[in-house]
Assembly symmetry: C2
Homo-oligomer: 154 residues x 2
DNA sequence: TACATATAAGACAAAAAGATCCTAAACTCT
DNA sequence: AGAGTTTAGGATCTTTTTGTCTTATATGTA
């Protein structure tokens, strides 16, 4: 159980982690005018194939990537849209906005007028996170990957 | 399912949210030399009684609060220790340290030398969060509650 | 048109998180 | 000592998250 074993609650859900990794990889390939099929994608980012399929379906529904069926098909992003896709769009599509909008203690009624005890302490962290997610484009992350400055595996 | 319904992945697990709220309340009562029993505690922070019991057991094991059995028993914190208890101790006891130590994309091999694409973007956020959790004492949160500046319910 | 290959979509399964229940152990008070 | 109250701890149940499987649908190519 969560409480008994040393849990590791992460910033994003596993699905969201896969979604970000997948989008970055698809973006890198898109910048090279390449479509990426599911199998190769899952291989490259080290994620379960069938689960990744579900996640990609969501990204397609949220217009973050588009898909092409049939042979030579796969996932791709229009080259000119890559820089318009921000981390916040992916996080929002998969995890919702609670991580950078909600109360740190999960209180419904928490706001600036009736703050929870950690409200002010978290306000800055949350705003910084929001700012970062909303200004970081997949373009910059994909190009770092392309030139071998960053890595997606393991 | 997570992917289908609009999920809300939060900063901390539910258990951790309850743990923080509970510790703040017990601390406030401890500053008034009062012991807090489980039922009253759960009532005050709006959490399920039995689940809260499990969480309190963990906090006792991690020496964050101590417990007294029998009538007039409950949970308490030594007055002189209240200011020594930091948010990080609670988060660590319940959620582990991944939120402010691990890679934003969940990659095992991610570090400054072989960074994931979002590594640098997250470094600052993570460090700020860590700093805040490690420097925020339960004392200051409990006193804000005591004077009615902050609220724990709903 | 037929065939091969790729994604879409739904059902299903396993694991973890969230929550409950019951009995044991500790303690206070009479 | 006995009765009643409170936390400890184990077993159990439910919901959510993570992951798999099977069938349908779309598409490129011979």
């Amino acid at each position: 159980m969560a409480i008994f074993t040393a849990k590791q609650h992460t910033m994003f859900s596993k699905a969201c982690e896969y979604a970000i990794r997948a989008t970055i990889y698809v973006a890198m390939r898109s910048l090279q005018d390449q479509c990426t099929n599911l199998k190769a994608l899952a291989e490259e980012i080290g994620s379960p194939v069938a689960f990744t399929a579900k996640i990609m379906q969501q990204l397609v529904k949220h217009n973050i990537v588009y898909s092409v069926m049939g042979p030579t098909g796969g996932f791709q992003i229009e080259k000119r849209r890559v820089h318009k896709i921000k981390l916040s769009m992916i996080v929002n599509a998969i995890d919702g906005d609670a991580i950078y909008q909600g109360c740190g203690l999960g209180l419904e009624a928490c706001n600036a007028l009736e703050p929870c005890p950690v409200h002010d302490k978290f306000a800055k962290i949350r705003d910084d996170l929001k700012q970062m997610l909303e200004t970081t484009s997949i373009y910059e992350l994909a190009t770092g990957l392309e030139v071998g400055m960053t890595y997606l595996k393991r």
